[in-house]
């Protein structure tokens, strides 16, 4: 009788990495819908373009590394990276910006470190940060909300032309503008209250960002429900940001934005549910995740309030990626039967 000999367990949950990735992609749909609705075709074009590039580069890299291409491609991790990057960069960003971004994310931040599971930094955020530092003009020209445009937004053809056929500066200027965070940061001598009334994007356009955040929040709740990740990172991150902004807003409402604004504009929601929860680069234990999320929330508030960049999710996440191994060492759970949790690497006697 040909009986196989294998070790236990002999059953396995129907649960593959690819399923996890597909769920993440699925969860981005409400956010993508909101972005497309309020900012035009640009987001969808970027998504497709980035995904195409990512899959191509991933396949090439896997081949270069002499690993089974299809086996690794099927984990969808490259697509997830591409989608997250595409959601983060401005909808009308030129094609080469996305190309550079995807290259940095897939080739440098992921495969040069050894591929999936081995990268210490979130690939999408490495790419985003590099683009922001290298091409600040292109990266800060976010699409203006459709409601603020007199002629309405660009059609699909115009969008494609704008992205792939080069820049018509006038056209670009007409469809792009500052983000609310930008506007608030560069409000000059105005108080926040005055800025809220006098700056167009704050007075009338901020609803678009609220809607997008709501979309990502819904997706995040869905993922929580499906137990793709635990609540620790998003909750601690959002709570930290909320508490800090409440405190400062409470003491100096003229100078600081209110907590609702902090939570609902910029990359906060996308970061909390889709970026910071990247398990590869986050802390691992539940307690560690609380520290990790809190650290990101703290850094976001600091950079937004006193830094030179309007938004801070990418930098905050990258900095906390750096701290994750350290957090891991000092946040080990208390094992069953042990009086205390272990700290660091020292042997307990």
């Amino acid at each position: 009788m040909a009986l196989i000999r294998v070790t236990s367990p002999h059953v396995h949950k129907a649960n593959r990495t690819a399923d996890v990735m597909r769920l993440v992609l699925l969860a981005t749909l409400p956010g993508i819908a909101a972005l497309s609705f309020f900012f035009g075709w640009g987001t969808l074009v970027q998504l497709l373009w980035a995904s195409l590039l990512a899959v191509g580069m991933e396949a090439a890299l896997i081949k270069l590394r002499r690993r089974p291409v299809l086996f690794y491609l099927r984990d969808y991790s490259a697509v997830v990276t591409a989608v997250l990057l595409a959601l983060a960069i401005p909808p009308f960003a030129p094609w080469w910006l996305t190309l550079v971004g995807v290259f940095v994310a897939i080739v440098i931040a992921k495969h040069l470190y050894g591929g999936l599971g081995q990268n210490p930094f979130n690939p999408a955020m490495v790419a985003y940060a590099l683009l922001l530092v290298s091409f600040p003009v292109e990266m800060t020209r976010w699409a203006a909300p459709t409601v603020l445009l007199e002629n309405g937004t660009l059609g699909l053809g115009d969008t494609l032309a704008l992205i792939f056929a080069g820049l018509d500066p006038a056209l670009v200027d007409s469809v792009t503008g500052a983000t609310p965070l930008d506007a608030l940061k560069h409000r000059g001598g105005l108080t926040t209250e005055e800025a809220w009334h006098s700056i167009d994007v704050l007075a009338n356009g901020v609803g678009a960002w609220h809607a997008v955040s709501a979309g990502f929040f819904m997706g995040g709740v869905f993922l929580l429900y499906r137990k793709v990740f635990t609540w620790h990172i998003p909750v601690s991150m959002l709570a930290t940001l909320a508490v800090l902004s409440t405190l400062f807003f409470g003491f100096a409402p003229d100078q600081y934005a209110d907590p609702f604004f902090h939570l609902t504009v910029g990359g906060t929601m996308l970061g909390a549910f889709f970026i910071a929860t990247d398990p590869v680069t986050a802390a691992t234990s539940n307690r560690g995740k609380l520290y990790y999320g809190a650290g990101i929330g703290l850094l976001i508030f600091i950079i937004r309030s006193w830094g030179s960049y309007p938004d801070a999710v990418a930098f905050a996440v990258l900095l906390m990626n750096l701290a994750a191994p350290f957090i891991d060492l000092y946040s080990q759970p208390r094992t069953y039967g042990h009086a205390h949790a272990k700290r660091g690497l020292k042997e307990d006697s």
Binding site: L3, R5, H10, V20
Partner: protein, 1076 residues
């Protein structure tokens, strides 16, 4: 119903339990043959009580438990024992185990069995023993012998008894069915256990997926006086894990590395409970159990009551195995069970389930994807570990980190593997890491064991060595005593008949005579060359000198022969040496005479005939000397007189050279038609014959040497020196090894003196290096010396070296004596006697020496290796004496103070004394070979100007100071009287400083003095060394020229160069010695 708590993690795999609960428990098939493993439990395997061929009855005990943790084995069928031996069994390791195989007779004939009518009346110990003999072991999975757990109340307070009926693994329903159908037996078993453990509370933990079982249990416990609760726990794997169930039911965690009884809890499996009941009530040992047969490859999944030892195949048949569908046969549950590849393996006491799975049901695992640290494993881990981190550590072989992350708290439940989206076989990684760590630990234990053994061996060897040392010391003392006696005797003999036995004086006289002869020859030659008028006078002087030399030589030979005769074979070696020297001297003389003859012949001078006669006489003498030497060499034992091949070779070469010269002379004479041609021709043929014979002798000797193996002669003196050096070096090595060991010991004990000791060891090591270097140097030098042909110059050099050695020795001895006297050393008297003796000898020999010195016009300095060596030995001895005196004093102090360290110190003093005796013996041995030549008495150098002596003194003081300091350090922790030691240290320090200052001052003074005269001492030294090298070079060139006979003008030129080089070297040496 008790309150239920929660444990961390856990999973909900598909239960697959319904399939096997359709039918009630069926009796299993009657096996034709059972195989009963002797180790179905944890602990020591049972010992067979039957033999092959024995007939056994069902329920008969066939193997007895061995040791505390073990279980008995009983026959599960009646029949005949057919085999006892290692057979394959169902174990996750796949290894064979010792089994007893019984062929059933089909009659199912029971042994006489009777339950206990009233187990409560039995003593506890007897009841537990009864259960032990029923072979009952935990039936849940691990098979821990039950009686051991029942003993627990003896040293633990058991509050809670938990009956594990959770049966959390999917597929398995054996306990479920048991509870449904035999709940009364469960309660009966609980009563027995409760009687033994006396718990205040009994909890039956059942998962809520067994409602029928729960109902049956609740019904059965009704009206029972015991405090029994049926605790229903939510279905979650692994709630049936002992630790998890305890947490669920009591909210108590069993501390890591402890057993539940440590927190007042004992767990028993529900199946075990029933087994206890049946054993106690019916006298049935554990020979059957309920086994769940399930899996999609079975048409009729069900539970069977199976005789232990039944082959799997029988059961699969009973459950209607669908042929061809079976792909995986799992023993146990799907989460923790193991697969087997043989369906003939037997059921054991712990086999609760067999899953005959199809390929669809349990497909082969997909290839593992990379870990994305998703943390799902962490969420399900019931031990609250970080499985993904453990995985990284195991993969990277970072076992320390894995262990630090509590790897050994992993219960291998498989929940992490179950949920892993990357399908990584995590449990396998943990098993790998655990086994690697265990292996490492086992190896460490082994290494530790080996180390202990090694240390024991070292200690034993050390003890043996010490014993040997003691014996050696004894021998050395005896030898010293004997030597002293002998010396006294010889001194008496000398006093009685000085003329006869004083060979030394004769030797000196002979040497003086030889030197005189040489001088006369030279004078004669120069006279001849310059055509002096007093040639005849010179010739007469030469002849007189020759005669005198011969006489002296003869006297010496006679005396030596007499000595040799009286001393026996022991005197053979020095005799030989003398003979060798004689032969060399004779050859030299002959050479000189020949030269003179040739000169005379060339110049056609008068008295040629006379010269020729002289040459012939000398020739005869040289031959005789050579012959005597050869004979003497051949006569004694081969070890005492190795054949001097080199000498022979030189002889042959010289003979050849002479022959060539004679030929040349003849040719010249023929050309010029001058002189006595016939005479020359005769001479030539004579020389020819001689050269041939010399060549022959050489070849013979060489072949003889080849036969004798290593028989290349070495100068006896240098060999002795070498031996001495070697002994020194070895002694030093021994010291270093001992010190190293002491240091290791001290380090192991964490002694505060370890640092000090380390410094000491380093110092000793440095000394050892010095000693070995000295030895190597000496060896190299000795071989060089051997390589040089023995000419008359060598004799002179030897004389000079001996003389210098003597001078140094006397000075040293005097110094040491002064030192010892100043210190009041107990050895001073002895030393004084030695010095007096030396001085007496010096006085005796002074005149002869002065004579010799006057004659020796060319005293070529040679680096005195033996001198340096001797100095070293001497210094050693003196240092040792100082040490002994110091140690003795310290000991006396310690004894006076009643110090506890006195014994130790005494041992140290004894050791030092032994060392001193060694050093003294070594010194005497080295000195004995050198004490033959007289020395110059009126050259005692003023001690304050003797730089070497000062240096030595400083070093001695330093050693003493170090010793005292060490003694003080050692005494300090013992709290003995420190003030005396401290004072001593201070005093020594002061003396050391003074000595050092003096030394430095003198050294500086010397350099200054030299500089004041416009001489750079350093440069001077270098110049002298270079001049000596030039002499050697010139000598070699001359020799080469002689051998090739490359024209006389070149020859003479070379000779002149040599003379110049020698003069220069002498001048430089003289200058140098003025400053040193």
């Amino acid at each position: 119903m008790g309150k239920v708590f929660a444990f961390h993690g856990g999973i909900h795999p598909p239960e697959n339990k319904k399939q096997s609960t359709v039918l009630p428990i069926q009796p299993g098939p009657q096996p034709k043959r059972v195989r009963l493993s002797l180790q179905q439990h944890i602990g020591a395997p049972a010992e067979p009580m039957v033999q092959v061929g024995d007939r056994v009855l069902k329920g008969q005990q066939i193997a007895a438990p061995v040791g505390r943790i073990s279980a008995a084995v009983h026959a599960s069928v009646s029949g005949t024992v057919t085999a006892i031996g290692a057979m394959p069994v169902a174990h996750s390791s796949g290894l064979d185990a010792l089994c007893i195989e019984i062929e059933s007779d089909g009659r199912e004939q029971w042994v006489e069995r009777q339950g206990l009518t009233d187990y409560r009346s039995l003593k506890r110990v007897d009841l537990i023993d009864y259960i032990r003999n029923m072979g009952i072991a935990g039936m849940g999975g691990a098979g821990f012998p039950t009686d051991v757990k029942l003993h627990l109340s003896e040293d633990h307070i058991v509050n809670t008894l938990i009956i594990n009926a959770a049966e959390c693994e999917p597929y398995i329903t054996a306990d479920d069915m048991l509870m449904r159908e035999r709940a009364e037996e469960v309660i009966g078993g609980i009563e027995v256990i409760a009687h033994l453990l006396k718990p205040s509370h009994i909890l039956i933990g059942v998962e809520d997926n067994k409602p029928q079982a729960i109902r049956a249990l609740q019904q059965a416990r009704r009206g029972n006086p015991l405090n029994i609760d049926v605790a229903v726990v939510p279905t979650k794997y692994p709630s049936g894990g002992e630790k998890q169930l305890i947490k669920l039911l009591t909210d108590v965690e069993v501390p890591s590395g402890h057993i539940p009884a440590d927190v007042g809890i004992v767990c028993q499996n529900v199946g075990t409970t029933v087994a206890i009941h049946r054993a106690v009530r019916h006298g049935e040992p554990l020979i059957s159990r309920i086994v769940t047969l399930t899996g999609e490859a079975l048409a009729q999944p069900q539970n069977l009551e199976v005789a232990i030892g039944t082959p799997f195949a029988d059961l699969l048949d009973a459950a209607s195995l669908k042929e061809g569908l079976l792909s995986r046969l799992v023993v146990g549950g799907p989460m923790m069970g193991f697969t087997v590849d043989d369906d003939e393996l037997p059921i054991t006491k712990t086999t609760n389930c067999l899953i005959a799975a199809t390929g669809d049901e349990m497909p082969a695992a997909n290839p593992a994807q990379p870990c994305i640290r998703c943390g799902q494993c962490e969420q399900v881990c019931p031990a609250e570990l970080l499985p993904q981190q453990l995985h990284w550590f195991a993969k990277g072989r970072e076992f320390d980190k894995a262990r630090q992350h509590n790897l050994f708290d992993c219960i291998e439940c498989g929940a992490c593997s179950y949920v892993c989206p990357s399908e990584i076989p995590l449990v396998q990684y943990y098993r790998f890491a655990k086994s690697e760590i265990r292996q490492e630990e086992a190896e460490q234990r082994k290494a530790e064991h080996a180390k202990q053994r090694f240390e024991a061996r070292q200690a034993r060897l050390e003890a043996e060595k010490a014993e040997k040392e003691a014996r050696r010391k004894q021998r050395a003392e005896e030898a010293a005593r004997a030597q002293a006696v002998r010396k006294d005797k010889s001194a008496a003999a000398t006093a009685a008949a000085p003329a006869e036995t004083d060979t030394k004086a004769l030797k000196t006289a002979a040497a003086v005579a030889r030197t005189k002869l040489k001088k006369a020859q030279k004078a004669y030659e120069t006279g001849k060359e310059s055509g002096a008028e007093n040639l005849a006078e010179l010739e007469a002087a030469l002849k007189a000198a020759e005669q005198k030399a011969n006489e002296a030589q003869q006297a010496l030979e006679q005396a030596e022969q007499g000595t040799a005769a009286s001393a026996g074979s022991g005197a053979a070696a020095p005799d030989l040496k003398q003979l060798k020297t004689n032969a060399a001297v004779a050859r030299t003389k002959l050479k000189q005479a020949e030269k003179a003859l040739k000169n005379a012949e060339d110049k056609g001078l008068d008295g040629i005939d006379k010269l020729r006669e002289t040459v012939n006489a000398l020739q005869a003498k040289a031959d005789a000397a050579q012959q005597a030497y050869d004979q003497a060499q051949a006569a004694p034992a081969p070890t005492a007189a190795p054949v001097d091949i080199k000498q022979l070779k030189t002889n042959a070469a010289v003979a050849r050279t002479k022959l060539k010269q004679a030929e040349k002379a003849l040719a010249k004479a023929q050309q010029s038609g001058e002189g006595d041609l016939e005479d020359l021709q005769a001479k030539l043929s004579e020389l020819q014959a001689k050269a041939d014979s010399a060549q022959q002798a050489y070849e013979q000797a060489e072949s003889g040497a080849g036969q004798a193996g290593q028989a290349v002669a070495q100068p006896a003196v240098s060999q002795a020196q070498l031996d001495e050096l070697k002994a020194d070096m070895e002694a030093m090595q021994g010291k270093v090894a001992k010190a190293q060991q002491a240091l290791d010991d001290a380090l192991a004990k964490g002694s505060p003196a370890a640092d000090k000791m380390k410094a000491g060891v380093d110092k000793l090591q440095a000394k050892l290096d010095d000693a070995s270097k000295a030895y190597q140097d000496a060896q190299a030098q000795a071989s060089q010396v051997v390589a040089q042909p023995a000419v008359s110059q060598a004799q002179l050099d030897e004389l000079k070296a001996d003389m210098e050695a003597m001078q140094g020795k006397v000075a040293k001895a005097q110094q040491a004596l002064d030192d010892a006297l100043a210190k009041g050393s107990p050895a001073a008297d002895k030393m004084k006697a030695g010095v007096d003796k030396l001085q007496a000898k010096l006085a005796d020999a002074s005149k002869a020496y002065q004579d010799a010195q006057a004659q020796v016009s060319q005293a070529v300095a040679q680096p005195a290796v033996s001198q340096a060596q001797l100095d070293e030995l001497k210094a050693d001895m003196e240092a040792m004496q100082g040490k002994v005196a110091k140690a003795q004093q310290a000991l006396d102090d310690a004894v006076a103070n009643g110090s506890p360290a006195a014994d130790k110190m005494k041992a140290g003093v004894d050791k030092l004394q032994a060392k001193l005796a060694d050093a003294r013996a070594a010194y005497q041995a080295a000195g004995g070979t050198l004490l033959e030549e007289p020395s110059e008495p009126e050259q005692p150098q003023a001690p304050e100007l003797d730089l070497k002596a000062l240096k030595q003194q400083v070093s001695i003081m330093r050693t003493k100071l170090g010793k005292a300091q060490k003694a003080l350090d050692e005494a300090e922790p013992q709290g003995t009287d420190l003030s005396a030691l401290q004072a001593e240290v201070d005093q020594l320090q002061q003396r050391h400083d003074e000595a050092k200052q003096q030394f430095e001052a003198v050294e500086a003074g010397q350099i200054q003095a030299a500089a004041a005269q416009g001489v750079d001492l350093k440069q001077l030294k270098i110049d002298a060394a270079m001049a000596r090298a030039a002499v050697t070079k010139a000598e070699r060139a001359l020799e080469k020229a002689l051998q090739t006979a490359d024209g006389e003008s070149a020859d003479e030129q070379l000779q002149q160069e040599l003379q110049q080089a020698k003069q220069k070297a002498d001048a430089l040496n003289a200058t140098l010695s003025r400053f040193e």
